[in-house]
Symmetry: C2
Subunit: 337 residues, 2 copies
DNA sequence: TTGTATGCGTTATCAG
DNA sequence: CTGATAACGCATACAA
């Protein structure tokens, strides 16, 4: 009866339900878990909460989990030593999580061996752990980065720099490769598309801009591998009294909330946290529901350029003459965009 | 034996332990919880993760919890409707949490009634829910705000404005009252200490500065009730091409990580997340350990001024003449500080 | 359909 | 101090 079937008198049912409510009864979920063999707990591993990208991802994931009556155990990778991390993973299996989403944009998952050992469903980003019950969310960096480079090319930029994250991580290589491909596609050469390897922090942006401005041929536009660093770039430029976008254009990647309120508001390639969270959650559900195939088809997530005010037509004095005619044309095209 | 007593042969013990490890055995915590009646789960309720203050608090609390083998269930209050919130609280009791820390800086805890009903230990900030097994963490706003005002007074500021959070919340009243008291203490009058009621967002800072600059007697220094808003103030000032601290001084409150990297680096009153987390956690432990008294003595957390570069001597042209002699004196005092 | 017994993996209790 | 056994609170499968 309690489970919703109305075979008894409706009035009696109501009385019982009221009694339950009055006594404040709520089922004990750990007992339920033990009985059913399903904990209704999911693990979520992120890089770190102090990177504003992740709270938004976490929130979306939590919302999804909540509507499906799942709890989530949150763990972050950065600023935790291996010992910390191993303990977290051990706790995940001790709580008998039904699956874990590893949303860290890196492929060093040695610390996940305990999960693999216990055959716990896993969803990862960009690259899959080679095992059963694992599913990849493939982020399509090319779509958004292509748009960004084409946008800059249309604005007349011929020297475009890139600030990458640590290249030891597969995902950062993917972003850089997407950049290099895009930039070749619009006909730019290697010497005009320098890459600086940062570490995705705010501070890295300032360092990168220092590097690029010391170059013989300064870039007229900079694409950063994430927004936090792009804001650092903006800040470094501001300290040097350089105007954005008049003197130099900047595009970020991620589209964190802060991007909109940067100075000037940052044009950026949006990687939707909602999409990412939804992909991860659905992946987990897919993995737990039926006995799934060894390597299910990956879930793809697109990226997309968001134009704000940190990008403008190329107007560098040195190259101004040569590109003059072309520039006015593209500027017009831009305004109509 | 497994529990660490060495009554049997050490070599045998090692073999058993190795066997356990090889089989990948880990105890089932939900079974343990059921048997022992202790879930080893704590609830942590915050305002919202997108306010950078809270991730740092969460991290500290998590570290404490982890070293004591507790799991935490995290919930945020903002951007969740009451239905959401009630469901979260219900889940807390369904998971049989051993206590919950309510770190939201507001006193509207209607949504906590389910916890009270189930007699779950509660730690709150600033104001206590009127019930047993509840403990308050009292933040001493006065200490830090006094330091801030004295600092500004020493720098020669005579018109100091305040941007408060929503005054419907007790805690924001406490901060404002601390401001008003401090400002009276250094001899300033009401008309020279205007208060603008914001909502603790970035945007509120820009709005506040718009308001203050429209005043007949513009303040020469602004104290904000939190850092996010203070950064908004900085941004609003920058858009109006006003120099900080040359034309106007700004002090924040919280000391979030971002404060250090604001432009210029923000002087602020630090409310230590570590202290807050430690107080909350210890409070919870105190409440769960022994059967504690109805209203245990509150735990106090101090605040403290951190001087960076957003504060400087008062140099407003209009008042410069009158205060001239005094200023040079205080400026000297300041440089020696 | 509805009630009843058994299992889930641990802790705790109580004999031995 | 050790070893068996009854809870713990629910799900589930089976009997009525």
């Amino acid at each position: 009866m309690v489970n919703g079937q109305l075979t008894v008198d409706a009035k009696l049912a109501k009385r019982v339900r009221d009694a339950i409510r009055e006594m404040g009864y709520l089922p004990n979920l750990q007992a339920r878990a033990l009985g059913s063999g399903r904990s209704r707990v999911l693990g979520l591993i992120i890089s770190e909460l102090t990177n504003p990208f992740y709270p938004e991802l976490v929130r979306s994931f939590e919302d999804l989990a909540e509507t499906s009556d799942f709890e989530i155990m949150l763990g972050s990778v950065i600023h935790k030593n291996d010992e910390h991390l191993n303990r977290f993973v051990r706790r995940l299996v001790q709580r008998r999580v039904e699956g874990v989403a590893v949303m860290t944009f890196r492929a060093d998952w040695d610390y996940l061996h305990e999960l693999i050992l216990h055959n716990i469903p896993l969803v990862t980003i960009d690259a899959a752990a080679p095992r059963a019950r694992c599913l990849v969310v493939e982020v399509d960096y090319r779509s958004g980065i292509d748009q960004a480079i084409q946008h800059l090319a249309l604005l007349g930029h011929r020297r475009i720099a890139f600030v990458s994250g640590p290249l030891q991580h597969f995902t950062n290589q993917a972003r850089r490769d997407a950049f290099l491909d895009s930039v070749r596609k619009v006909g730019l050469r290697a010497k005009d598309t320098p890459v600086y390897e940062g570490d995705h922090t705010f501070e890295a942006g300032a360092a990168a801009i220092g590097h690029f401005l010391s170059l013989r041929d300064r870039p007229t536009a900079i694409l950063s591998s994430n927004d936090l660093t792009a804001v650092g770039v903006l800040r470094g430029l501001s300290e040097r009294r350089m105007q954005v976008p008049e003197e130099i254009s900047v595009i970020g990647f991620d589209d964190i909330h802060m991007a909109e309120f940067a100075h000037p508001p940052l044009s950026t390639v949006r990687m939707s946290r909602e999409d990412l969270a939804a992909a991860a959650f659905q992946g987990l559900m897919r993995l737990t529901q039926h006995s799934s195939p060894y390597a299910p088809e990956p879930i793809r997530v697109k990226t997309q350029l968001v134009v704000r005010q940190s990008t403008g037509p190329q107007t560098n004095a040195v190259t101004a003459k040569a590109d003059s005619a072309r520039r006015t044309g593209t500027a017009a095209a831009c305004s109509g965009e």
